[in-house]
Amino acid sequence: MVKNSDYWKSNIALIVKCLSVWFVVSYLFGIVFVDVLNLVKLGGYKLGFWFAQQGSIYTFVILIFYYAKKMNQIDEQFNMHEK
């Protein structure tokens, strides 16, 4: 059971890390600081606008695959993977 709780802690730590990025790209870059970021341009995109309509979505996709990959490693490390 000690092993289980260590495994669960690693999972929580990874989730917190991923959801921080999730929060920053959408809520901070896309909404709260949008006006500041809009002063910078990415091609024809204002940067804040780009995060709100493009960048946050790309980041979400990468985040899920990153989480899935890292969890596979954690599963192996704690010998928790499905047999």
Partner: protein, 570 residues
């Protein structure tokens, strides 16, 4: 070939495909009917989830919303995709490990309570039925516009098709049909976007075209900003939706609601393992992202094309009503586009000023459907768009109907009333409830209730304020007990319904809205549609408060939680 024939050909071919899949993927067991046997490959499930998720609203309405709300429309883009991150990390893997057939079944096991199960079924049915009405309307509208048959004939044809593959194949039939529907939908959405992006910017990739220069060297988005502000509309790339606080809460509500919608969660019960559930969420979002990152380009380009078709820098050169193109006339017939010559000069003035604006109605929903015509694309492209719109509405309707049917046959009949029935009987009942659910949805399609327009927001509000918190606490808190969970769900729904009804009217009957639908009365300036996140907060708070004063969870449930937290079976 003319448009009519081409459309019949394309739509007919896709329907023939769905029916063939139905005969090939017939369900023989309850496991096949509810979860497609649990053996769907993560990529295949990702594709099916994308089709399940992207409804007539995503396909037809979303780009139109963004076209008119500009930056403010971002809440839908972020809200309807960010929920998958929550789903992948907070719900899907653990629910898959538990291995139940339905969402209420998990809630029943985790909270050792039939009451909790019934509460969950009620939330699920309200959320799904309201959602499915919108799909039925979408099917009827797409048919009547493109095939020029009546709304009723169109709706009946759509219902018949869903009936065949959903009743016969259950989740198995629905899954394989959804994969086909995803492919059709994404082709239909991207082809016109690629054409238009290339025509405007020379870059065929819409996501890049939106950030590129136009032929005259001006960035497309700068051009859109310039055109709309000159005509008195708010600047496209910066217009917020009410306030940034409202946008923040709205986005959060849509994300939590997305993660809590049972017809989406259920799709993750069909993959073979926990590992597959995590990956599959990534694939699902990737397939969704293809459409969702194309939509902003479609939106901005459609807005630009529409405005520059009508308005010219010199007002005297504006489009004359007598010279209006054929798409203009076609949409006028539907009543979704209306012109009124206020100054009697025979020219069309489309401006942001209500007093002089002569385009008195431009329905947002026509943007995606009319876009290829406005840009002058060939007929076969327009025919594909029709087939795509139907695929979007049908795939979501089927997923919702399965969620409703399984909660009736598996949760109420088998789970609560008649636990003793055999598997064969349950399979029969599940088919009967599926047929019943289709009949109810069809009835509402023919007689759309007055409240239909506001109901999708209600579905998200309920999913966010009841189902998501109950599931999340069930996994992440070992201490959460049945009293806490039930009190949480009821108060979450209660607060959300109260807020929506007091501003929008009880069951959306306007005259009963006792606080009036106006911003000064809104809590922190939050619009009623965005209230799910507040309902979820109330749910969490009440649940923990009640938990602290009631009996702790039994030992066997604690063990069950230990078990769902790890992928391995020992």
């Amino acid at each position: 070939m003319d448009l009519q024939t081409l459309t019949f050909l394309f739509v007919g071919a896709t329907f023939a495909l769905y029916i063939s899949i139905a005969f090939w993927a017939k369900a023989g067991t309850t496991a096949e009917f509810y979860v497609a046997g649990g053996g769907i490959h993560p990529i295949a499930n990702g594709m099916a989830t994308a089709a399940d998720w992207m409804s007539a609203a995503s396909f037809i309405s979303m780009a139109g919303l963004i076209a008119f709300y500009g930056y403010g429309g971002s809440v839908f883009l972020m809200g309807w995709t960010g929920g998958y991150v929550l789903l992948a990390m907070l719900l899907a893997p653990y629910l898959r490990k538990h291995g139940s057939f339905t969402v209420p079944e998990f809630i029943s096991d985790r909270y050792y309570s039939k009451t909790a199960r019934v509460v969950a079924v009620i939330c699920l049915i309200i959320a799904s039925v309201t959602y499915v009405i919108g799909q039925m309307k979408g099917i009827g509208v797409a048919f009547s516009r493109f095939l020029e048959v009546s709304y009723e004939t169109g709706l009946l044809t759509g219902i018949a098709i869903v009936f065949v593959y959903a009743v016969m194949g259950g989740m198995k039939g629905i899954t394989y049909t959804q994969i086909a529907q995803y492919v059709i939908m994404i082709i239909a959405y991207t082809i016109p976007a690629i054409f238009i992006s290339f025509m405007l910017t020379g870059n065929p990739i819409p996501q890049l075209g939106l950030g590129s220069e136009m032929v005259d060297g001006v960035y497309l988005l700068d051009k859109v900003d310039q055109v709309v502000t000159e005509l008195g509309f708010a600047e496209y790339t910066t217009q917020a939706r009410l306030s940034l606080t409202n946008m923040f809460v709205y986005t959060l509500s849509l994300m939590i609601g997305t993660a809590g919608l049972p017809h989406v969660i259920m799709r993750f019960f069909t993959v073979p393992s926990v590992k597959a559930a995590r990956e599959s969420a990534g694939w699902a979002l990737l397939f969704i992202a293809i459409l969702y990152t194309t939509a902003p380009a479609v939106a901005a380009m459609a807005r630009l094309n529409l405005m520059t078709t009508i308005d010219q820098p010199d007002q005297a050169q504006n489009l004359a009503y007598a010279d209006r193109p054929s798409w203009f006339k076609n949409w006028e017939k539907t009543g979704l586009l209306k012109f009124e010559d206020k100054n009697n000069d025979g020219l069309i003035q489309y401006t942001g000023d209500k007093a002089t604006n002569e385009m008195v109605k431009v329905d947002r929903d026509i943007m995606v459907l009319a876009n290829p015509e406005i840009a002058g694309l060939p007929n076969w492209v327009i025919a594909i768009v029709a087939a795509g719109g139907l695929a979007a509405a049908l795939s979501t309707a089927a997923g919702l109907l399965l969620a409703i049917a399984s909660s009736i046959s598996h949760d109420l009949l088998k789970g609560v009333w008649h636990p003793e029935i055999t598997e064969k009987k349950e399979l029969l009942y599940s088919r009967i409830s599926m047929a019943g659910a289709i009949a109810v949805a069809g009835y509402f399609g023919f007689n759309p209730p007055d409240f239909a327009a506001g109901t999708v927001a209600l579905a998200f509000g309920l999913a966010a304020s009841s189902i998501f918190p109950a599931l999340m606490m069930g996994i992440f808190s070992k201490k959460m007990n049945k009293e806490g969970a039930i009190a949480g769900m009821l108060s979450g729904i209660g607060v959300t319904l109260l807020y929506v009804f007091q501003h929008k009217g009880i069951m959306f009957v306007q005259s009963t809205s006792f606080l009036g639908d106006m911003d000064p009365n809104w809590f922190l300036g939050i619009e009623p549609n965005a209230f799910g996140a507040i309902g979820a907060t109330v749910n969490f708070a009440v649940a923990f408060l009640v938990m602290s004063r009631t009996a702790p969870v039994p030992k066997h449930v604690e063990e069950m939680i230990e078990n769902i937290r790890v992928p391995s079976h020992n």
